[in-house]
């Protein structure tokens, strides 16, 4: 899950809601992802929510960019 978006919203430029947890890479449905949600405050996502591929993640002082080889990239600013 991303830190700053609806966990069911589109991620990594996918069109539909996510199936996989961006933090742990397991299925969102039926799983307990409370710990993942807490971790998301201090972690960028590592797995694409659309396809579970591990993403290339670049963290900079003020942002992170996560890139899925199939679904593209998303960048989030972490500074107000």
């Amino acid at each position: 899950m991303f830190a700053d978006v609806d966990p069911d919203g589109p991620v990594a430029r996918g069109d539909g809601p996510g199936v996989w947890c961006g933090q742990c890479g397991t299925e969102l449905a039926g799983g307990d992802h409370a710990r993942c949600a807490a971790r998301a405050a201090l972690e960028p996502p590592r797995y694409c929510m659309q396809c579970r591929r591990r993403m290339q993640v670049q963290v900079t002082p003020g942002a992170w960019t996560a890139t899925c080889s199939r679904h593209g990239s998303v960048e989030r600013s972490t500074w107000s």
Partner: protein, 340 residues
């Protein structure tokens, strides 16, 4: 040895530290650091207050602000057990390189916070020619576009690489001891403590400032934590970054619990008393270990430098929160080219 004598005869360690460190500027010995780390929670506020007095007397109120960025992430051949960037573990961190325009953009963002330092980090055993070329290009591009000091952390160096970094204008080099010598083999097996020391010594001799710290909360004993402080003291680095273990999924230390916040604060104060004239920086793990309240306590307990924004693979606090806190505490940000 005055301190040890006093301690053995039952004199309070904080009284000893006040006389020895605050009044005379003599750092605590390893044994004295152990005694400080063993003080109870009922003494914590007194300890932090003393460490703050020491910081103010020998370093002043200014705080050095730095941003860091990973130039090359993941795929590291080393097995540092705390690190999600090792290629030897099942960490989800994948290898990625930052391009030069993005590197300059990150430096500009950092400078806009008022930071005087920007540290370029690579997850490598030591730099190869490709990385050194990327550094030459990147440091030159930053210096042409941004008014900020450039530091680097690229693993173990050869003398030739040290000389190259000096020629590039890199003014500070980070190479942590990570842990005290006796605990180091439990943390890293792919290189030795002495190999780390060798790079640190070359950096010092080159004229670059040495930034050398470590991590706490990795399962080390109090004695081993004190040993790290003492061994850092022997090196006399310009700066000591103090990291608190943030257990990373997939790493050998991934299942350890984060350090207790009182122990973390005691460690900050103890390191200040062992290193009264050294910049002591909040580095990774403070958000998880200390939270907002603990961050304030640490700044009032010996810390006089911070990393703003995100870390190499994890996220930090919004810089506006840290800058507002410094303003509230009447701790000015150290200006560029000003020596603490």
């Amino acid at each position: 040895m005055l301190g040890m004598t006093a301690q053995v005869t039952g004199t309070d360690i904080l009284d000893v530290a006040r006389e020895q460190v605050l009044e005379r500027g003599v750092p605590l010995t390893q044994e004295q650091v152990v005694a400080v780390l063993r003080t109870g929670d009922d003494r914590l506020q007194d300890l932090l207050a003393l460490a703050h007095e020491v910081r103010m007397r020998y370093q002043g109120p200014a705080v050095e602000v730095e941003g860091i960025v990973s130039l090359k992430t993941g795929g590291c051949p080393e097995d540092c057990h705390f690190c999600s960037q090792s290629g030897q573990f099942t960490s989800p961190v994948r290898s990625v390189w930052l391009n030069i325009p993005e590197l300059v953009r990150a430096a500009k963002q950092t400078a806009e916070t008022g930071a005087s330092e920007f540290c370029i980090v690579a997850a490598v055993r030591g730099p190869d020619e490709r990385l050194m070329e990327q550094m030459r290009e990147g440091v030159a591009a930053i210096k042409a576009a941004v008014d900020i000091e450039v530091a680097a952390s690229l693993g173990m160096l050869t003398q030739e690489q040290v000389d190259d970094l000096v020629d590039m204008g890199v003014h500070r080099y980070n190479h942590n001891l990570e842990a005290g010598r006796s605990y180091f083999p439990q943390v890293v097996t792919t290189h030795s403590f002495d190999e780390r020391l060798e790079t640190c010594r070359m950096v010092k001799e080159s004229g670059m400032e040495l930034c050398c710290g470590g991590l706490v909360g990795m399962g080390e004993t109090i004695e081993q934590r004190a040993e790290l402080a003492a061994q850092l003291g022997e090196l006399e680095p310009h700066e000591v970054p103090l990291n608190f273990l943030n257990p990373r999924p997939g790493t050998p230390f991934g299942d350890l619990e984060p350090m207790d916040s009182s122990d973390a604060l005691r460690t900050i104060a103890a390191f200040r008393l062992a290193l009264p004239r050294t910049i002591l920086r909040y580095a990774g793990g403070r958000e998880l270990t200390l939270g907002d309240l603990g961050t304030r306590d640490g700044l009032l307990g010996g810390i006089n430098a911070v990393i703003v924004g995100n870390y190499l693979t994890t996220l930090g606090r919004d810089p506006s929160e840290d800058l507002a806190l410094l303003d509230e505490l009447e701790m000015p940000i150290k200006a560029l080219n000003e020596t603490l």
